[in-house]
Amino acid sequence: MIAVETYASADQAATALHGDAVFLGGGTLIMRAVNYGDLKTERIVRSTDPAMKSISTSGERISIGAAATMSDVMLNPQLAFLAPVARSIGGPAVRNMATVGGNLFASHPYGDFAVALLALDGRVSVAGSGEEDLGAFLARRSSFSGVVTEVSIARPATGDFRYRKVSRIKPKGVSVMSLAAWLPRSGGRLSGARVAFGAMGNTPVRANGVERALEGANLDVSGIAEALRAVRTDLQPPDDPIASSWYRSEVAPVHLRRLLLDEEVS
């Protein structure tokens, strides 16, 4: 029999999260496991901490509470650049439930929002602990036990952030891949570009070779040519019913080109 414990603060919830207990965010991942008998524990911990829903800007960075839903993101004017990302997640009902924090734990091929956060230099705050790099956090997420309270991201200059989700079903479906890029420029040339992929590994991942190839490059056909070559070897995408590893590798340069050059796709 499953017991649900509700705490007023994230810290209390984190303290209660011992043993094999799991933390419930919006429920779209945990309740699926409950319904299918896949939950390995009988203790669910949740928090009603209002701080976990806040969205605030501080200098060049924006903090998004882990309990903010995709709908909250879409409605917040500070996060207008992330609205298309949030809108690509599920239908309206899922977006009213699914949280930013929960998306960090969505297994392949899900977790498209985390891809955007990764490209935007995301840093994860964990209750009772400090901030850590989102890339490092994703790499250790399967063994993580704790409460993510917020994710902070860089606030990109207008036009510097790009996102695409590629799926076989219209208007939307599961990702063949999702791509996000933060493309800061200095004197017209790329400087410190960050490119992340979803559904191209076990977790959302950065394409390091692509980022290196873009350093100092112009954002045009010849400037990105090396990056398009690099993406083939940068990632080891998995096979799944949506697409084969081979297919994902073959089409990755096409989608990366469209993303970087902001090409229209009919």
Binding site: M1, Y36, R46, G91, P92, A93, P171
Partner: protein
Amino acid sequence: MAKVPVRFTLNGRETALFVDGGANLLDVLRRGAGDLSPKYGCGQGTCGTCTVLVDGEAHLSCLTLAEIIEGRSVSTVSGLSNGPDLHALQTCFMENFAAQCGYCTSGMLMAAKALLDTNPNPTRDEVIEAISGNLCRCTGYEPIIDAILLAAERGQGNRSPSYGSAR
């Protein structure tokens, strides 16, 4: 067995139930409250047949932990009509053949209601987006989209004339 008390408003009526720990809202509505209008389709958030409104927002009842409904307001298709007087969405679904087997219809109606409640004059693309989390295997969606647009045109707040009492 650990039963947990939950009080909430269901279609405007105060409701109190003891639920199993970890029970989902869909099960509680159907077997606890006896409201059979939301349907089970997948239990994993992919089909939308269990869509209900929680405080006016579309939620998937199969993925909603029943205990978090405490003190909140839930709306289902059972509360959509006013006795024999159907909601505009309901009459438009009937007239447009937007329901064939009928199993997705409850979820479609609630997803559409969530849209029209906040956006009374949606574009076709907005309607498509609003039901993008709801699957239908019979109709091919076009009659459903047309029905929602027609309901918006007629003014979704208006109750339309009776089609006779519902059984």
